[in-house]
Amino acid sequence: MAKHPNRKQFRWHIIIFLMPAVLVYTTVMIYPLLATLWLSLFTEVDQTRVFVGLENFKTLFGESVWSDQFWNALVNNLWFFIIHMLVQNPIGIVLAAILSQSKLRFSSVYRSAIFVPTILSFVIVGFAWKLILSPIWGIAPGLLDAIGLKVLYAPWLGKEASALTALSLISVWQFVGIPMMLIYAALLSIPEEILEAAEVDGITGWSAFFKIKLPLILPSIGIISILTFVANFNAFDLIYAAQGALAGPDFSTDILGTFMYRTFFGFQLQLGDPHMGSAIASAMFGIILVGVCVYLFGIQSRMRRYQF
């Protein structure tokens, strides 16, 4: 650490270095966050703000006009998350495991190519898949026909039963690059000696992966899970781009993000309601907070860390 000869002098430069970041961060992020939580305790009566305590939450969780939508969005959001955990992360891990094999040629080409969807905006991804899955254009049915599975085709995005799953899988397609990259990095950081020692004991190939590498990359899998959780419970763009603010058909793809947008910003004939919107945002905040706490105190602290 630096030594400072004249300790008594007030060190203004520390304040000056910290100030811009703290100022912007506090006014544009922390203050609005707290203000939103605060706003959820109010409502508007005759154009004035009235304090109502937890009334908004009672309405949101209990009155069927609101609560039906809320629970629908929450359950849909959970399903969205489950699909990511079951499909995106395992595929990412398998791809990373294949890529991390030593002496695999072109591995950086594969890596860059598989990461391409991740950099595209939701608008591009949403519309591109909408067109490809569209029965009018016929690319999806045509491809299924080519492998003899045309019977399986249905306009997935237009059907209530399958639209949410289809959108989740599109999102998986888009973001598989992130777990792949993080796991790849974790796999590369495993020292050669450990793998060589295992090889001497006759543990190679996939059994080396499951018995040695997988336990060692568990912390990274934990990080991916929490990143996925936060991103999923905060998602909005893809659903909005592909299905619009109404998250059709018949709200079957409605998640918390789209529900909050409709509520506070208004749509079609419904006027925006910032107070109910804040209540939904507060509920999302609570859900994310619970997730992060479960991760920090329940998972991360129990995970063994290996020092190499």
């Binding site: 966050l33 905006s121 991804v125 519309f127 591109a128 909005f236």
Partner: protein
């Protein structure tokens, strides 16, 4: 230990699996871009054929460039992205330096306070952000977006940059102090150049999410003259939904700038992720 033939089989299987997934990853992009160069008839009749002399057409691009103000949108996106990155890097590096370099009361707490935002998404506060921007008259200006993205990017930037700044040697800075350099000069002249790789990592991490964001442009800056490319293409495609040529061309035009950014920065991005900058 391994039989060579089995080894080769494994390699083939690995390449097979990776090629299959690469195909899945790139196919939609390829189909969209390819069909944007075809006539309407050809798009529907043979969606998977490359454009040839008969089917080649730029009609979609003509519509897009006539109807939508894509150059303006592009310029807006550029200003917002570059402006936000500038402030994230400058303010982030300054705060990171203060936290990494000086021991003072509240250092730990300040570090934790700034780190809070790594896990909490800024979108939760949207309702109050909109009110704030309305009160300050910043709604429908690019400044609203720049401020929000700066606030959003700062926590991770401070976290990553302070890790790197702790590794800058004390001798160098103390030598600067003996030579009579002020603390500001030590920061700008000695430390900043040394953490340039970390700054690049932070920039690349932030660039793509800012460029692609739809939520804040939609809520804070939906006016025509401040639309970003992402929002602009969303609205445009929504209006021209039945004009397939125009939609495919608009999508291709929206893909182009991100792909260019990715090709320029992909090594930096991949190195940043795999070097474990985010732990």
């Amino acid at each position: 230990m391994h039989k060579p033939s089995q080894n080769r089989l494994n390699t083939y299987a690995a390449h097979g699996a990776l090629m299959l997934y690469t195909l899945i990853a790139l196919f939609p992009v390829f189909v969209i871009v390819m069909n944007s160069f075809k006539t309407r008839k050809a798009i529907f009749r043979e969606p998977l054929a490359l454009p040839d002399g008969d089917s080649f057409s730029l009609i979609g691009y003509e519509t897009v460039l006539k109807q939508g103000d894509f150059f303006l949108y592009f310029q807006n996106s550029m200003i917002v992205t570059v402006g936000s990155l500038f402030f994230i890097l400058l303010f982030g590096a300054m705060a990171a330096f203060a936290l990494a370099e000086y021991r003072f009361k509240g250092n730990m707490i300040m570090g934790l306070y700034l780190a809070l935002g790594i896990m909490i998404p800024i979108r939760i506060g949207t309702v109050a952000i909109l009110e704030l921007m309305v009160q300050t008259g910043l709604v429908n200006t690019l400044w609203a977006l720049i401020l929000v993205y700066t606030a959003q990017g700062l926590p991770l930037a401070v976290f990553i940059l302070s890790e790197f700044m702790r590794q800058v040697s004390d001798e160098l800075k103390d030598a600067g102090r003996i030579d009579g350099l002020s603390e500001y000069r030590i920061f700008f002249r000695l430390v900043l150049p040394l953490v340039r790789p970390a700054m690049a990592t932070v920039a690349v991490f932030n660039m793509i999410p800012i460029w692609n964001d739809l939520w804040f442009p939609l809520i804070l800056a939906p006016a025509e003259e401040v639309k970003t490319l992402t929002l602009g293409s969303q609205v445009f495609i929504g209006q021209f939904v039945t004009d397939w040529n125009a939609v495919l061309s608009a999508l291709s035009l929206a893909i182009l700038p991100v792909m260019a950014l990715y090709i320029i920065f992909s090594r930096q991005l991949i190195r940043g992720i795999t070097s474990g900058a985010v732990k």
